[in-house]
């Protein structure tokens, strides 16, 4: 298989989605601010969207279903970003910090 024909292969998209998912997990476990974790979670959401779209293009009988599902994921991601922003602002008001290590009020 030629390298210029990669875009006609299902595995290309699945591996790309796996790499993006891994980047998101890496950012999620290493970032120390809430906003950084929000950015990484967006990467994870986009990786799952790529998986849906790849199977939609290559294996599904009705290609509209995956596109509608991806639109649904996009709307959920937008809502998640908005609520994440407001929670971050609320946390910043109460703690004067968005560092995850400062949010330890419930720690025994």
């Amino acid at each position: 298989m030629s390298i210029l024909n990669l875009h006609n292969n299902l595995n290309t998209y699945l591996i790309l989605a796996a790499i993006l998912f891994g980047m998101g997990v890496y950012g999620l476990v290493t970032r120390r601010t809430l906003v950084g974790m929000l950015i990484s979670s967006e990467l994870i959401l986009v990786a799952s969207s790529i998986n849906f779209m790849a199977f939609n293009r290559f294996t599904a009988p009705d290609p509209t279903v995956g596109q509608i599902f991806t639109l649904f994921i996009m709307a959920i991601a937008a809502a998640e970003a908005a609520i994440g922003l407001s929670i971050t602002i609320a946390v910043y008001r109460n703690y004067k910090s968005v560092d995850t290590e400062d949010l330890v009020d419930l720690k025994g």
Partner: protein, 188 residues
């Protein structure tokens, strides 16, 4: 000159030859967009400053939009540009400006999972998913339609109208909820 030569020459200018070049160009563009997505993702999850991470995230989303275009979905690609690059990245940039002072003591990663252990975690997840994807044979079903924008509109308002309504309600609740949460304690 025999007929097959003529066909080859004419085909070079009009038909198959040009299509071959177009395919090669599409492959090159796909590789560029693949690299854009991966580089943007790396910037997004490793950059020291959060503003740079958001810029990397936007770059990655632009690459993903191009990949959706390669997956026969120009409508979803446009929505990706509008919603992710235009709305989500701007929202996160606002979050950084409103709540993340750049002069915090330590910006870089910390904690037990940072450094090599975090890399190993992410690497294991990636390897596992890649192995699953490569070693599984997926059954390909025959296409019923081409998934055009018109069909998406029709299905979104008939078969999947529940999804449409649900998205509206979720977005409404998210708007009201985020206003309520962010407004609390504002006068202090």
């Amino acid at each position: 000159m025999n007929p097959s030569d003529t066909t080859t020459i004419i085909g070079f200018f009009t038909g198959d030859g040009f299509a071959g070049y177009a395919d090669a160009a599409a492959g090159v563009v796909f590789l560029i967009m693949l690299a854009t997505t991966l580089v943007g993702g790396i910037i997004a999850c490793t950059a020291e400053r959060l503003v740079r991470a958001v810029a990397g995230l936007a770059l990655s989303f632009i690459g993903v939009a191009a990949i959706y275009y390669f997956l026969n979905s120009p409508f979803v690609a446009m929505m990706q540009l509008l919603i992710y690059v235009g709305a989500v990245c701007v929202t996160i940039a606002f979050a950084i400006m409103l709540a993340a002072p750049e002069d915090t003591k330590k910006i870089g990663p910390s904690g037990p999972l940072s450094g090599p252990l975090g890399l190993v975690t992410a690497g294991l997840v990636t390897m596992g998913m890649t192995g699953l994807a490569v070693n599984t044979t997926f059954s390909v079903l025959p296409k019923e339609n081409m998934g055009s924008v018109k069909l998406i509109g029709i299905e979104l308002l008939t078969t999947y109208s529940m999804v449409f309504e649900l998205v509206s309600i979720v977005l409404l609740i998210a708007i009201i909820g985020s206003l309520v949460i962010a407004r609390h304690g504002r006068s202090k």
